[in-house]
């Protein structure tokens, strides 16, 4: 079966963003960009399925600017087979991302789509669920483990109270959580090989999807700052302070 993995180019998780003085957004000039960490987990899971002989082909898609092809190359170096870059220079909202992915799914006919549970920039946590709904497919979100059968998949999910297992009919959408696997680092030979793997270029218009933002961003501001506190020198002093604050 074919597995499709959408990968997003986002600010690296180690970077602390700065809000622009004019409140128009965050400063992304010269900051390190990487693959969304949850999408690395998604690629790893897909590649493992291929290595186990369960998947026949792993296709990665990214919607973003020309540089998103680097994100696709990273996935190809991890073991994905080919890429699709849907080029768009402005930010695309989750619903529009889901609509583009739906068109790609209809063309590619994968049995499983693995997305990240959330992109660490916008933290929307929407795309996988929206895609599943648009396709009329079931979903297993926040996946902790996957048991893939021929016609169904058992997906154990990280939920607020612990773990929950659902059995879904295929085709399905799964979204990854942190404990699903530990993504590999691409080896040098695989990075070289990835350079030769094909990346097809498309635009949202090729799929008839209008990516004009529906939301109006009025401003982006810094959150209220916490004043740094003081060091205490002993346990009794700490407890005295907490008592005085009325929190214990």
């Amino acid at each position: 079966m074919k597995v499709l993995v959408p990968v997003k180019r986002v600010i690296d998780f180690n970077v602390k963003v700065r809000v622009k003085a004019d409140q128009s957004g965050v400063d992304l000039a010269n900051v390190k960009m990487s693959m969304n960490p949850f999408d690395e987990i998604a690629v790893e899971e897909a590649v493992r399925l291929k290595e186990k002989g369960k998947a026949t082909e792993v296709v990665v898609v990214s919607i973003g600017p020309a540089q998103a092809s680097e994100t696709i190359r990273t996935a190809l170096a991890m073991g994905a087979d080919r890429g699709i870059l849907v080029k768009n220079d402005t930010a695309v909202e989750p619903l529009a991302v889901a609509k583009i992915l739906k068109a790609i799914v209809e063309a590619e006919q994968p049995q499983l789509v693995i997305t990240g549970k959330q992109a660490i920039d916008d933290d929307a946590n929407q795309v996988g669920q929206m895609l599943a709904a648009l396709l009329g497919w079931p979903q297993g979100t926040f996946a902790h483990s996957l048991e893939l059968g021929d016609a169904t998949a058992k997906i154990t999910r990280e939920i607020d109270g612990g773990l929950q297992t659902v059995e879904v009919k295929l085709p399905a959408v799964m979204t990854t959580d942190l404990r699903l696997n530990e993504p590999r680092y691409a080896s040098l030979p695989n990075i070289m090989k990835a350079k030769k793997k094909p990346i097809e270029e498309k635009t949202p218009a090729d799929f008839g999807v209008d990516v004009t933002p529906r939301f109006k961003i009025l401003k982006v501001t810094e959150p209220a700052k916490r004043a740094a506190g003081a060091k205490v020198s002993s346990v009794p002093e700490l407890l005295d302070k907490l008592k005085a604050d009325g929190v214990i």
């Binding site: 619903l95 879904v168 401003k219 604050d245």
Partner: protein, 314 residues
Amino acid sequence: MASLVIAEHDNASLKDATHKTVTAAAAVSSPVHILVAGENCAAVAEAAAKIAGVEKVLLAEGAPYARQLAEPMESLLLSLSDKYDAILAPATTTGKNILPRVAAKLDTPQVSEILKVISPDTFERPIYAGNAIETLQAPAGKKIITVRTTAFKAASEGGSAAVEKIAAASDPGLSTFAGEVLSKSERPELTSAKIIVSGGRGLGSGENFKLLDSIADKLHAAVGASRAAVDAGYVPNDYQVGQTGKVVAPDLYIAVGISGAIQHLAGMKDSRVIVAINKDEEAPIFSVADYGLVADLFKALPEIDEELGKRGYK
């Protein structure tokens, strides 16, 4: 028209996240109705009817709703959506699982994890792990919203809404529940606890979390953890506090052996009082802590435990 709040519950009891979502809903569109979908959950509907300001409680009972799986919940909500101009759910794993499906089918963009309702179509929400706050205006039409519950006060008790039974929608039959492993604890839930004692990689093992347990018991606190502690298998996944775990804002958050990565801070920096215990005085956690204790946790924790005992905490 009205707004509809999806109740957070486990078929036996109504969760506080519902009360907080009602507060947000009332600012978006009144009157507020609550949907209780579950199995044998009439008691939950009764509890929901007592929330002040709620006009009506819709009770949908049936096996597909027992675990509120996303696919049957989508059908149910779509069958009700015409009557509402806003549908809201708490940003719990249940709300996050269901609501984007409804938004997509209604061709409406969803606003995730709102912190504030500025006007019925304008909201604040955190982006980049809470390092920036976005103020955005939603397009005309239905509003589909998940609510960060730590940012809203719980609606009070004292209402007496009518409970109306509604028919189950057809189950698309795409998914089935196949089991669960829930963490059992006598302690308060992380997201509603007044005090949280949280451990990180510095604890070194699951066994050592007992040092936190003893203190948590004396303070009637919940126990949380960093991602590193969960990944290492010291504690289950539902302990994780942070950008991609649970967001908490207790009166007191005690971070022990946690360095203070931005992803962790995103989940706890709105706590009223933060205490950090770390042997590295340069640890970033100290930059958000009201009180920092530079100490080896293996010495500090038994001492806190003993000192609390001496002061009468049991």
